[in-house]
Protein backbone atom coordinates (compact mmCIF):
# COMPACT_ATOMS: atom_id res chain seq x y z
CA UNK A 1 0.00 0.00 0.00
CA UNK A 2 1.48 3.28 -1.06
CA UNK A 3 0.76 6.40 0.90
CA UNK A 4 0.12 9.35 -1.35
CA UNK A 5 0.44 12.98 -0.52
CA UNK A 6 -2.69 14.49 -1.98
CA UNK A 7 -3.13 18.21 -2.26
CA UNK A 8 -6.86 17.89 -2.68
CA UNK A 9 -8.94 18.50 -5.70
CA UNK A 10 -9.06 21.97 -7.18
CA UNK A 11 -12.36 23.12 -8.55
CA UNK A 12 -12.75 25.40 -11.52
CA UNK A 13 -14.33 28.82 -11.33
CA UNK A 14 -16.52 28.86 -8.27
CA UNK A 15 -20.06 30.03 -8.49
CA UNK A 16 -21.08 31.31 -5.10
CA UNK A 17 -24.64 31.69 -3.92
CA UNK A 18 -24.73 33.63 -0.66
CA UNK A 19 -26.61 31.94 2.16
CA UNK A 20 -27.19 35.23 3.98
CA UNK A 21 -28.58 38.28 2.31
CA UNK A 22 -26.44 40.42 4.56
CA UNK A 23 -27.58 44.02 4.25
CA UNK A 24 -25.26 46.91 5.03
CA UNK A 25 -25.83 47.87 8.64
CA UNK A 26 -24.88 51.38 9.70
CA UNK A 27 -25.97 51.19 13.33
CA UNK A 28 -25.73 48.03 15.39
CA UNK A 29 -23.79 45.07 14.02
CA UNK A 30 -26.00 42.35 12.65
CA UNK A 31 -26.86 39.69 15.24
CA UNK A 32 -26.34 37.16 12.44
CA UNK A 33 -22.62 37.99 12.13
CA UNK A 34 -21.63 35.29 14.60
CA UNK A 35 -23.54 32.73 12.60
CA UNK A 36 -22.17 33.59 9.17
CA UNK A 37 -20.86 30.63 7.27
CA UNK A 38 -19.23 30.19 3.92
CA UNK A 39 -21.54 30.57 0.97
CA UNK A 40 -22.97 27.43 -0.63
CA UNK A 41 -21.00 26.62 -3.73
CA UNK A 42 -23.26 24.86 -6.24
CA UNK A 43 -20.28 23.55 -8.19
CA UNK A 44 -18.89 21.99 -5.03
CA UNK A 45 -22.25 20.39 -4.35
CA UNK A 46 -22.47 18.84 -7.80
CA UNK A 47 -18.80 18.08 -8.38
CA UNK A 48 -16.89 16.05 -5.84
CA UNK A 49 -13.97 15.09 -8.09
CA UNK A 50 -13.39 17.89 -10.59
CA UNK A 51 -10.72 16.36 -12.86
CA UNK A 52 -12.93 13.29 -13.43
CA UNK A 53 -16.25 15.12 -13.84
CA UNK A 54 -17.76 15.96 -17.24
CA UNK A 55 -21.12 17.37 -18.33
CA UNK A 56 -23.19 15.50 -20.90
CA UNK A 57 -26.35 16.40 -22.80
CA UNK A 58 -29.32 14.03 -22.90
CA UNK A 59 -30.56 13.13 -26.39
CA UNK A 60 -33.91 11.30 -26.32
CA UNK A 61 -36.84 10.44 -24.07
CA UNK A 62 -36.24 6.84 -23.06
CA UNK A 63 -35.03 7.61 -19.53
CA UNK A 64 -38.03 9.57 -18.25
CA UNK A 65 -38.75 6.79 -15.76
CA UNK A 66 -35.82 7.96 -13.63
CA UNK A 67 -36.58 11.65 -14.18
CA UNK A 68 -34.21 12.27 -17.07
CA UNK A 69 -35.69 14.20 -19.98
CA UNK A 70 -34.56 15.14 -23.46
CA UNK A 71 -31.98 18.02 -23.45
CA UNK A 72 -31.24 17.75 -19.70
CA UNK A 73 -27.62 18.20 -18.60
CA UNK A 74 -25.99 15.33 -16.72
CA UNK A 75 -23.10 15.46 -14.27
CA UNK A 76 -20.95 12.41 -15.01
CA UNK A 77 -18.14 11.23 -12.74
CA UNK A 78 -15.65 8.85 -14.37
CA UNK A 79 -13.84 8.04 -11.11
CA UNK A 80 -16.78 6.16 -9.52
CA UNK A 81 -17.14 2.37 -9.61
CA UNK A 82 -20.53 1.60 -11.20
CA UNK A 83 -23.03 0.03 -8.79
CA UNK A 84 -26.28 -1.84 -9.34
CA UNK A 85 -29.02 0.62 -10.33
CA UNK A 86 -26.65 3.42 -11.40
CA UNK A 87 -27.53 5.48 -14.45
CA UNK A 88 -24.44 5.37 -16.63
CA UNK A 89 -23.07 6.76 -19.87
CA UNK A 90 -22.27 3.56 -21.72
CA UNK A 91 -20.47 3.01 -24.99
CA UNK A 92 -22.38 0.27 -26.79
CA UNK A 93 -20.70 -0.76 -30.05
CA UNK A 94 -19.08 2.66 -30.35
CA UNK A 95 -22.34 4.57 -29.66
CA UNK A 96 -22.65 6.95 -26.70
CA UNK A 97 -25.78 6.01 -24.82
CA UNK A 98 -27.51 6.54 -21.50
CA UNK A 99 -28.66 3.41 -19.68
CA UNK A 100 -29.48 2.00 -16.28
CA UNK A 101 -27.03 -0.60 -15.09
CA UNK A 102 -28.28 -3.75 -13.40
CA UNK A 103 -25.77 -6.15 -11.90
CA UNK A 104 -27.72 -9.38 -11.49
CA UNK A 105 -26.70 -12.84 -12.62
CA UNK A 106 -25.15 -10.98 -15.54
CA UNK A 107 -24.66 -7.24 -16.00
CA UNK A 108 -27.33 -5.61 -18.10
CA UNK A 109 -28.23 -2.19 -19.39
CA UNK A 110 -31.86 -1.08 -19.36
CA UNK A 111 -34.03 1.81 -20.43
CA UNK A 112 -36.08 3.55 -17.77
CA UNK A 113 -39.31 4.20 -19.60
CA UNK A 114 -42.28 1.92 -18.93
CA UNK A 115 -43.46 2.24 -22.52
CA UNK A 116 -40.16 0.94 -23.87
CA UNK A 117 -39.48 -2.77 -24.16
CA UNK A 118 -36.90 -4.19 -21.76
CA UNK A 119 -33.52 -3.88 -23.40
CA UNK A 120 -31.54 -7.06 -23.20
CA UNK A 121 -27.89 -6.62 -23.86
CA UNK A 122 -26.94 -8.88 -26.75
CA UNK A 123 -24.21 -11.34 -25.97
CA UNK A 124 -21.55 -10.34 -28.44
CA UNK A 125 -21.75 -6.62 -27.99
CA UNK A 126 -18.82 -4.39 -27.08
CA UNK A 127 -19.75 -2.39 -23.95
CA UNK A 128 -17.74 0.09 -21.91
CA UNK A 129 -19.01 2.14 -18.99
CA UNK A 130 -17.80 5.70 -19.70
CA UNK A 131 -18.92 7.21 -16.41
CA UNK A 132 -21.53 7.22 -13.68
CA UNK A 133 -24.27 9.89 -13.71
CA UNK A 134 -24.41 11.59 -10.31
CA UNK A 135 -26.81 14.47 -10.96
CA UNK A 136 -29.36 15.51 -13.55
CA UNK A 137 -29.80 19.22 -14.24
CA UNK A 138 -33.38 19.57 -15.41
CA UNK A 139 -34.62 23.09 -16.13
CA UNK A 140 -38.18 23.61 -14.89
CA UNK A 141 -38.79 27.15 -16.10
CA UNK A 142 -39.24 27.35 -19.82
CA UNK A 143 -36.87 29.60 -21.71
CA UNK A 144 -38.87 32.38 -23.40
CA UNK A 145 -37.90 32.96 -26.97
Amino acid sequence: MIVRNPKGVVLGDELLVPMFAHAICAGFPSPADDFLEDAVDVARLLITNAPATFLWRVDGASMTGVGIFDRDILVVDRSLEPRDGDVVVAIVDGERSLKRLTLGARPNLAFANSRMPVYELPDLVDVEIWGVVTWNLHRLRAIRR
Binding site: I2, P51, R57
Partner: protein, 424 residues
Amino acid sequence: MTPKAFALIDGNSFYCSCERVFDPGIAHRPVIVLSNNDGCAVARTSEAKALGIKMGDPYFKIRDLCRAGRVAVYSSNYTLYGDMSRRMNAVYDQFATDVEIYSIDESFLDLSGYAPADRRELAQDLRSTVRKWTGVPTCVGIGPTKTLAKVANAIAKKELDLAGVCDLSDPVERAIRLDRFPVEDVWGVGRASTAKLAALGVNTAGDLTRLDPKLARKPLTVVGERIIHELRGMACLDLEMVTPQRKGIAVTRSFGRPVTTLDALLEAVSAYAFRAGEKLRRHGLAASHLTVFAHSNLFNGDAPFSASMTEGMIEASSDSLVLIAAASRGAQRLWRPGAKLAKAGVILDDLVRAENVPAALIGGRDREKAARMMAAIDAVNAKHGRGSVTSAAVGIRKAWQTKFEMRSPRYTTRVDELPAARTG
Protein backbone atom coordinates in the same frame (compact mmCIF):
# COMPACT_ATOMS: atom_id res chain seq x y z
CA MET B 1 21.36 13.70 0.64
CA THR B 2 19.00 11.12 -0.78
CA PRO B 3 19.31 10.60 -4.52
CA LYS B 4 16.66 12.24 -6.66
CA ALA B 5 13.98 10.40 -8.62
CA PHE B 6 12.04 11.99 -11.44
CA ALA B 7 9.11 10.68 -13.44
CA LEU B 8 8.07 11.92 -16.86
CA ILE B 9 4.45 11.16 -17.71
CA ASP B 10 2.92 11.97 -21.08
CA GLY B 11 -0.23 11.21 -23.01
CA ASN B 12 -0.01 8.58 -25.77
CA SER B 13 -0.81 10.29 -29.10
CA PHE B 14 -2.26 12.92 -26.79
CA TYR B 15 -4.41 14.99 -29.17
CA CYS B 16 -5.81 11.84 -30.83
CA SER B 17 -6.52 10.27 -27.44
CA CYS B 18 -8.51 13.37 -26.39
CA GLU B 19 -10.65 12.96 -29.52
CA ARG B 20 -11.20 9.28 -28.75
CA VAL B 21 -12.43 10.00 -25.21
CA PHE B 22 -15.50 11.75 -26.59
CA ASP B 23 -15.90 9.95 -29.89
CA PRO B 24 -15.74 6.24 -29.04
CA GLY B 25 -16.65 5.37 -32.62
CA ILE B 26 -12.99 5.96 -33.55
CA ALA B 27 -11.57 3.75 -30.79
CA HIS B 28 -10.16 1.21 -33.22
CA ARG B 29 -9.67 3.42 -36.27
CA PRO B 30 -6.50 5.28 -37.22
CA VAL B 31 -6.73 8.92 -36.06
CA ILE B 32 -4.69 12.01 -36.94
CA VAL B 33 -4.90 15.62 -35.81
CA LEU B 34 -3.80 18.45 -38.12
CA SER B 35 -1.87 21.60 -37.23
CA ASN B 36 -3.34 25.11 -37.37
CA ASN B 37 -5.04 25.83 -40.66
CA ASP B 38 -5.28 22.07 -41.35
CA GLY B 39 -1.68 22.19 -42.60
CA CYS B 40 0.01 18.95 -41.58
CA ALA B 41 -0.30 15.96 -39.27
CA VAL B 42 0.85 16.80 -35.73
CA ALA B 43 -0.55 13.79 -33.86
CA ARG B 44 -1.04 10.20 -35.03
CA THR B 45 -2.26 7.04 -33.35
CA SER B 46 -0.23 3.85 -33.78
CA GLU B 47 -2.74 2.67 -36.43
CA ALA B 48 -2.11 5.87 -38.42
CA LYS B 49 1.67 5.41 -38.07
CA ALA B 50 1.26 1.86 -39.39
CA LEU B 51 -0.36 3.29 -42.53
CA GLY B 52 2.86 5.20 -43.16
CA ILE B 53 1.66 8.66 -42.07
CA LYS B 54 4.65 10.62 -40.76
CA MET B 55 4.84 13.46 -38.27
CA GLY B 56 4.55 16.73 -40.19
CA ASP B 57 3.20 15.21 -43.41
CA PRO B 58 1.27 17.95 -45.27
CA TYR B 59 -2.41 17.04 -45.32
CA PHE B 60 -2.87 17.59 -49.05
CA LYS B 61 -0.24 14.89 -49.66
CA ILE B 62 -1.86 12.26 -47.45
CA ARG B 63 -5.52 13.05 -48.13
CA ASP B 64 -6.01 10.08 -50.47
CA LEU B 65 -4.18 7.75 -48.11
CA CYS B 66 -6.44 8.92 -45.26
CA ARG B 67 -9.55 8.30 -47.31
CA ALA B 68 -8.40 4.85 -48.38
CA GLY B 69 -7.34 3.90 -44.84
CA ARG B 70 -10.55 5.20 -43.21
CA VAL B 71 -8.45 7.58 -41.10
CA ALA B 72 -10.43 9.86 -38.78
CA VAL B 73 -8.97 13.34 -39.46
CA TYR B 74 -9.43 16.26 -37.06
CA SER B 75 -8.48 19.93 -37.04
CA SER B 76 -6.68 20.79 -33.81
CA ASN B 77 -9.03 21.57 -30.92
CA TYR B 78 -6.64 23.27 -28.48
CA THR B 79 -9.50 24.29 -26.21
CA LEU B 80 -10.28 20.62 -25.58
CA TYR B 81 -6.64 19.49 -25.34
CA GLY B 82 -5.83 22.31 -22.90
CA ASP B 83 -8.73 21.36 -20.64
CA MET B 84 -7.83 17.66 -20.69
CA SER B 85 -4.21 18.59 -19.89
CA ARG B 86 -5.41 20.64 -16.91
CA ARG B 87 -7.39 17.64 -15.63
CA MET B 88 -4.42 15.29 -16.02
CA ASN B 89 -2.18 17.65 -14.06
CA ALA B 90 -4.83 17.80 -11.32
CA VAL B 91 -4.45 14.01 -11.04
CA TYR B 92 -0.64 14.28 -10.91
CA ASP B 93 -1.03 16.71 -8.01
CA GLN B 94 -2.56 13.88 -5.99
CA PHE B 95 0.53 11.72 -6.43
CA ALA B 96 3.40 14.19 -6.05
CA THR B 97 3.82 17.50 -4.28
CA ASP B 98 6.18 18.87 -6.93
CA VAL B 99 5.00 18.78 -10.54
CA GLU B 100 6.54 20.65 -13.47
CA ILE B 101 4.21 21.09 -16.45
CA TYR B 102 6.74 20.76 -19.27
CA SER B 103 4.34 20.95 -22.21
CA ILE B 104 0.64 20.47 -22.95
CA ASP B 105 1.02 16.67 -22.63
CA GLU B 106 4.21 16.14 -20.60
CA SER B 107 4.84 16.70 -16.90
CA PHE B 108 7.77 15.90 -14.63
CA LEU B 109 6.97 14.62 -11.13
CA ASP B 110 9.43 14.56 -8.25
CA LEU B 111 9.22 11.03 -6.79
CA SER B 112 12.24 11.40 -4.46
CA GLY B 113 9.99 11.05 -1.41
CA TYR B 114 8.87 7.52 -2.37
CA ALA B 115 10.87 4.38 -1.57
CA PRO B 116 12.63 3.14 -4.75
CA ALA B 117 10.83 -0.21 -4.57
CA ASP B 118 7.43 1.51 -4.57
CA ARG B 119 7.96 3.76 -7.58
CA ARG B 120 7.01 1.34 -10.32
CA GLU B 121 3.76 0.42 -8.58
CA LEU B 122 3.05 4.09 -7.94
CA ALA B 123 3.57 4.83 -11.63
CA GLN B 124 1.11 2.07 -12.58
CA ASP B 125 -1.37 3.46 -10.06
CA LEU B 126 -0.88 6.93 -11.58
CA ARG B 127 -1.41 5.63 -15.13
CA SER B 128 -4.58 3.76 -14.29
CA THR B 129 -6.00 6.70 -12.32
CA VAL B 130 -5.37 9.11 -15.21
CA ARG B 131 -6.89 6.59 -17.62
CA LYS B 132 -9.98 6.06 -15.49
CA TRP B 133 -10.59 9.70 -14.56
CA THR B 134 -9.82 11.38 -17.89
CA GLY B 135 -9.83 8.53 -20.42
CA VAL B 136 -6.35 9.41 -21.70
CA PRO B 137 -3.72 6.60 -21.88
CA THR B 138 -0.22 7.55 -20.72
CA CYS B 139 3.32 6.24 -20.34
CA VAL B 140 5.70 6.90 -17.44
CA GLY B 141 9.49 6.98 -17.42
CA ILE B 142 11.42 7.04 -14.14
CA GLY B 143 15.06 7.91 -13.55
CA PRO B 144 17.49 9.68 -11.22
CA THR B 145 17.65 12.66 -13.61
CA LYS B 146 15.16 14.40 -15.88
CA THR B 147 17.14 13.35 -18.97
CA LEU B 148 16.99 9.69 -17.89
CA ALA B 149 13.28 10.00 -17.10
CA LYS B 150 12.81 11.23 -20.70
CA VAL B 151 14.78 8.26 -22.06
CA ALA B 152 12.79 5.89 -19.85
CA ASN B 153 9.53 7.37 -21.11
CA ALA B 154 10.57 6.82 -24.74
CA ILE B 155 11.46 3.19 -23.94
CA ALA B 156 8.11 2.67 -22.15
CA LYS B 157 6.35 3.92 -25.31
CA LYS B 158 8.25 1.58 -27.64
CA GLU B 159 8.46 -1.64 -25.64
CA LEU B 160 4.92 -2.79 -25.11
CA ASP B 161 5.80 -5.59 -22.65
CA LEU B 162 6.79 -2.94 -20.10
CA ALA B 163 3.08 -2.12 -19.64
CA GLY B 164 3.67 1.61 -19.96
CA VAL B 165 6.25 2.08 -17.20
CA CYS B 166 10.05 2.02 -17.50
CA ASP B 167 12.28 2.63 -14.48
CA LEU B 168 15.97 3.34 -15.15
CA SER B 169 16.95 3.71 -11.48
CA ASP B 170 18.91 0.47 -11.40
CA PRO B 171 22.43 1.12 -12.85
CA VAL B 172 22.82 -2.38 -14.34
CA GLU B 173 19.50 -2.36 -16.20
CA ARG B 174 20.14 1.26 -17.17
CA ALA B 175 23.50 0.46 -18.80
CA ILE B 176 21.93 -2.31 -20.90
CA ARG B 177 19.03 -0.14 -22.05
CA LEU B 178 21.16 2.95 -22.79
CA ASP B 179 23.41 0.84 -25.05
CA ARG B 180 20.33 0.06 -27.16
CA PHE B 181 18.96 3.63 -27.18
CA PRO B 182 19.80 5.74 -30.28
CA VAL B 183 21.75 8.86 -29.33
CA GLU B 184 19.64 11.11 -31.58
CA ASP B 185 16.59 10.35 -29.41
CA VAL B 186 18.26 11.72 -26.26
CA TRP B 187 16.67 14.94 -24.96
CA GLY B 188 18.82 17.88 -26.15
CA VAL B 189 20.71 16.04 -28.90
CA GLY B 190 19.78 17.67 -32.19
CA ARG B 191 19.81 16.11 -35.61
CA ALA B 192 22.81 18.23 -36.59
CA SER B 193 24.93 16.91 -33.72
CA THR B 194 24.10 13.26 -34.45
CA ALA B 195 26.47 13.12 -37.44
CA LYS B 196 29.26 14.80 -35.47
CA LEU B 197 28.75 12.32 -32.63
CA ALA B 198 28.84 9.40 -35.06
CA ALA B 199 32.25 10.63 -36.22
CA LEU B 200 33.41 10.24 -32.61
CA GLY B 201 32.00 6.70 -32.54
CA VAL B 202 29.01 7.73 -30.46
CA ASN B 203 25.84 6.07 -31.76
CA THR B 204 23.89 5.16 -28.63
CA ALA B 205 23.06 6.88 -25.36
CA GLY B 206 25.41 4.34 -23.73
CA ASP B 207 28.29 5.50 -25.97
CA LEU B 208 27.56 9.06 -24.92
CA THR B 209 27.86 8.22 -21.19
CA ARG B 210 31.41 6.94 -21.89
CA LEU B 211 32.46 10.08 -23.78
CA ASP B 212 34.75 12.54 -22.00
CA PRO B 213 32.38 15.41 -21.14
CA LYS B 214 34.95 17.95 -22.36
CA LEU B 215 34.93 16.32 -25.82
CA ALA B 216 31.15 16.72 -25.96
CA ARG B 217 31.36 20.49 -26.07
CA LYS B 218 32.16 20.60 -29.76
CA PRO B 219 29.33 18.45 -31.15
CA LEU B 220 26.80 19.35 -28.49
CA THR B 221 27.80 22.90 -27.41
CA VAL B 222 27.82 23.72 -23.70
CA VAL B 223 24.73 21.64 -22.96
CA GLY B 224 26.64 18.50 -24.04
CA GLU B 225 28.50 18.18 -20.76
CA ARG B 226 25.24 18.50 -18.87
CA ILE B 227 23.58 15.82 -21.00
CA ILE B 228 26.44 13.38 -20.24
CA HIS B 229 26.30 14.02 -16.49
CA GLU B 230 22.52 13.59 -16.54
CA LEU B 231 22.79 10.32 -18.52
CA ARG B 232 25.38 9.11 -15.99
CA GLY B 233 22.76 9.68 -13.27
CA MET B 234 23.97 12.99 -11.82
CA ALA B 235 21.05 15.40 -11.70
CA CYS B 236 21.91 18.81 -13.15
CA LEU B 237 18.34 19.95 -13.80
CA ASP B 238 15.74 20.48 -11.13
CA LEU B 239 12.01 20.84 -11.58
CA GLU B 240 10.97 24.27 -12.79
CA MET B 241 7.96 24.85 -10.62
CA VAL B 242 7.44 28.49 -11.47
CA THR B 243 7.13 29.51 -15.09
CA PRO B 244 9.84 32.09 -15.70
CA GLN B 245 8.51 35.54 -16.58
CA ARG B 246 7.61 35.54 -20.22
CA LYS B 247 10.11 37.46 -22.30
CA GLY B 248 7.84 37.83 -25.30
CA ILE B 249 4.34 37.16 -26.55
CA ALA B 250 3.50 36.38 -30.14
CA VAL B 251 0.13 35.88 -31.79
CA THR B 252 0.58 34.65 -35.35
CA ARG B 253 -1.70 32.77 -37.69
CA SER B 254 -1.76 31.48 -41.22
CA PHE B 255 -4.70 32.85 -43.14
CA GLY B 256 -7.51 30.55 -44.23
CA ARG B 257 -7.15 32.04 -47.72
CA PRO B 258 -4.71 34.65 -49.05
CA VAL B 259 -5.25 38.20 -47.80
CA THR B 260 -5.07 40.68 -50.65
CA THR B 261 -6.51 43.89 -49.20
CA LEU B 262 -5.26 46.29 -46.56
CA ASP B 263 -8.66 46.21 -44.81
CA ALA B 264 -8.47 42.46 -44.28
CA LEU B 265 -4.89 42.74 -43.01
CA LEU B 266 -5.91 45.51 -40.60
CA GLU B 267 -8.74 43.34 -39.26
CA ALA B 268 -6.45 40.38 -38.79
CA VAL B 269 -3.63 42.22 -36.99
CA SER B 270 -6.22 44.02 -34.85
CA ALA B 271 -7.59 40.64 -33.76
CA TYR B 272 -4.06 39.41 -32.97
CA ALA B 273 -3.26 42.60 -31.05
CA PHE B 274 -6.47 42.22 -29.05
CA ARG B 275 -5.55 38.64 -28.18
CA ALA B 276 -1.96 39.66 -27.33
CA GLY B 277 -3.42 42.23 -24.92
CA GLU B 278 -5.45 39.48 -23.22
CA LYS B 279 -2.28 37.42 -22.77
CA LEU B 280 -0.37 40.41 -21.37
CA ARG B 281 -3.08 41.17 -18.84
CA ARG B 282 -3.34 37.56 -17.73
CA HIS B 283 0.37 37.63 -16.85
CA GLY B 284 0.29 41.14 -15.37
CA LEU B 285 2.68 42.43 -18.02
CA ALA B 286 2.89 45.44 -20.33
CA ALA B 287 4.73 46.03 -23.63
CA SER B 288 6.46 49.17 -24.79
CA HIS B 289 6.66 48.27 -28.45
CA LEU B 290 4.97 46.00 -30.90
CA THR B 291 6.16 44.36 -34.12
CA VAL B 292 3.82 43.50 -36.98
CA PHE B 293 4.93 41.12 -39.69
CA ALA B 294 3.32 39.63 -42.77
CA HIS B 295 4.53 37.46 -45.59
CA SER B 296 3.31 35.72 -48.72
CA ASN B 297 3.35 31.96 -49.27
CA LEU B 298 7.03 31.24 -49.86
CA PHE B 299 6.46 27.91 -51.60
CA ASN B 300 3.62 28.23 -54.10
CA GLY B 301 5.12 30.69 -56.58
CA ASP B 302 3.22 33.79 -55.40
CA ALA B 303 5.22 37.02 -55.70
CA PRO B 304 7.47 36.92 -52.65
CA PHE B 305 6.62 39.50 -50.03
CA SER B 306 7.87 39.70 -46.48
CA ALA B 307 7.93 42.72 -44.22
CA SER B 308 7.87 43.71 -40.58
CA MET B 309 7.44 47.01 -38.76
CA THR B 310 8.06 47.86 -35.13
CA GLU B 311 5.95 50.53 -33.46
CA GLY B 312 6.82 52.18 -30.16
CA MET B 313 4.17 53.23 -27.66
CA ILE B 314 4.33 56.34 -25.53
CA GLU B 315 4.20 54.25 -22.40
CA ALA B 316 4.27 50.50 -21.90
CA SER B 317 0.70 49.21 -22.03
CA SER B 318 -1.47 46.13 -21.90
CA ASP B 319 -4.53 47.99 -23.20
CA SER B 320 -5.84 46.10 -26.23
CA LEU B 321 -7.02 49.36 -27.85
CA VAL B 322 -3.53 50.88 -27.59
CA LEU B 323 -2.03 47.69 -29.03
CA ILE B 324 -4.57 47.65 -31.88
CA ALA B 325 -3.68 51.26 -32.75
CA ALA B 326 0.03 50.37 -32.85
CA ALA B 327 -0.58 47.20 -34.87
CA SER B 328 -2.72 49.11 -37.37
CA ARG B 329 0.00 51.78 -37.82
CA GLY B 330 2.54 49.02 -38.44
CA ALA B 331 0.29 47.16 -40.88
CA GLN B 332 -0.40 50.35 -42.84
CA ARG B 333 3.34 51.05 -43.11
CA LEU B 334 4.27 47.56 -44.32
CA TRP B 335 1.34 47.05 -46.72
CA ARG B 336 2.12 46.96 -50.46
CA PRO B 337 -0.77 46.86 -52.98
CA GLY B 338 -0.77 43.59 -54.90
CA ALA B 339 0.69 41.54 -52.08
CA LYS B 340 -0.89 38.11 -51.46
CA LEU B 341 -0.37 37.44 -47.77
CA ALA B 342 -0.37 33.93 -46.34
CA LYS B 343 0.48 34.74 -42.74
CA ALA B 344 0.73 37.68 -40.38
CA GLY B 345 1.49 38.17 -36.73
CA VAL B 346 1.95 40.51 -33.82
CA ILE B 347 4.98 40.16 -31.54
CA LEU B 348 5.52 41.89 -28.21
CA ASP B 349 8.90 41.72 -26.53
CA ASP B 350 10.75 43.61 -23.90
CA LEU B 351 7.87 43.04 -21.49
CA VAL B 352 7.74 44.72 -18.10
CA ARG B 353 5.57 44.10 -15.08
CA ALA B 354 2.50 46.32 -15.42
CA GLU B 355 2.92 47.86 -11.96
CA ASN B 356 6.47 49.04 -12.78
CA VAL B 357 5.54 51.03 -15.86
CA PRO B 358 6.70 54.65 -15.58
CA ALA B 359 4.04 57.17 -16.57
CA ALA B 360 4.68 59.31 -19.61
CA LEU B 361 4.98 63.05 -18.96
CA ILE B 362 3.03 64.01 -22.07
CA GLY B 363 0.47 61.97 -23.97
CA GLY B 364 -0.09 59.34 -21.31
CA ARG B 365 -3.55 57.86 -20.91
CA ASP B 366 -5.88 57.58 -17.97
CA ARG B 367 -4.52 54.19 -17.04
CA GLU B 368 -6.99 53.37 -14.29
CA LYS B 369 -9.96 53.97 -16.52
CA ALA B 370 -8.43 51.90 -19.32
CA ALA B 371 -7.54 49.10 -16.89
CA ARG B 372 -11.12 48.99 -15.60
CA MET B 373 -12.48 48.74 -19.10
CA MET B 374 -10.05 45.95 -20.04
CA ALA B 375 -10.89 44.08 -16.82
CA ALA B 376 -14.59 44.34 -17.67
CA ILE B 377 -13.99 43.07 -21.23
CA ASP B 378 -11.89 40.17 -19.92
CA ALA B 379 -14.61 39.28 -17.41
CA VAL B 380 -17.32 39.25 -20.07
CA ASN B 381 -15.18 37.15 -22.40
CA ALA B 382 -14.33 34.73 -19.60
CA LYS B 383 -18.01 34.24 -18.95
CA HIS B 384 -19.43 34.20 -22.45
CA GLY B 385 -16.49 32.89 -24.46
CA ARG B 386 -13.53 34.56 -26.08
CA GLY B 387 -14.47 37.20 -28.64
CA SER B 388 -17.90 38.03 -27.14
CA VAL B 389 -16.66 41.60 -26.65
CA THR B 390 -13.89 42.86 -28.88
CA SER B 391 -12.87 45.94 -30.81
CA ALA B 392 -14.81 46.79 -33.97
CA ALA B 393 -11.41 47.02 -35.70
CA VAL B 394 -11.32 43.22 -35.57
CA GLY B 395 -14.15 43.07 -38.11
CA ILE B 396 -17.22 40.86 -38.18
CA ARG B 397 -16.86 38.44 -41.07
CA LYS B 398 -13.21 37.54 -40.55
CA ALA B 399 -12.72 36.08 -44.02
CA TRP B 400 -9.01 35.80 -43.17
CA GLN B 401 -9.62 33.49 -40.22
CA THR B 402 -7.69 30.27 -39.81
CA LYS B 403 -9.44 27.15 -41.08
CA PHE B 404 -10.61 24.56 -38.57
CA GLU B 405 -12.91 22.68 -40.88
CA MET B 406 -12.75 19.33 -39.12
CA ARG B 407 -12.59 20.49 -35.52
CA SER B 408 -14.49 18.44 -32.96
CA PRO B 409 -16.83 20.17 -30.47
CA ARG B 410 -15.28 21.87 -27.44
CA TYR B 411 -16.89 19.16 -25.32
CA THR B 412 -15.64 20.24 -21.90
CA THR B 413 -15.76 24.02 -22.00
CA ARG B 414 -18.94 24.99 -23.89
CA VAL B 415 -22.44 24.27 -22.63
CA ASP B 416 -23.75 24.28 -26.20
CA GLU B 417 -21.12 21.76 -27.36
CA LEU B 418 -21.46 19.05 -24.66
CA PRO B 419 -21.18 15.42 -25.73
CA ALA B 420 -24.63 13.87 -26.19
CA ALA B 421 -25.77 10.53 -24.80
CA ARG B 422 -28.69 8.92 -26.66
CA THR B 423 -31.28 7.36 -24.41
CA GLY B 424 -32.59 5.06 -27.14
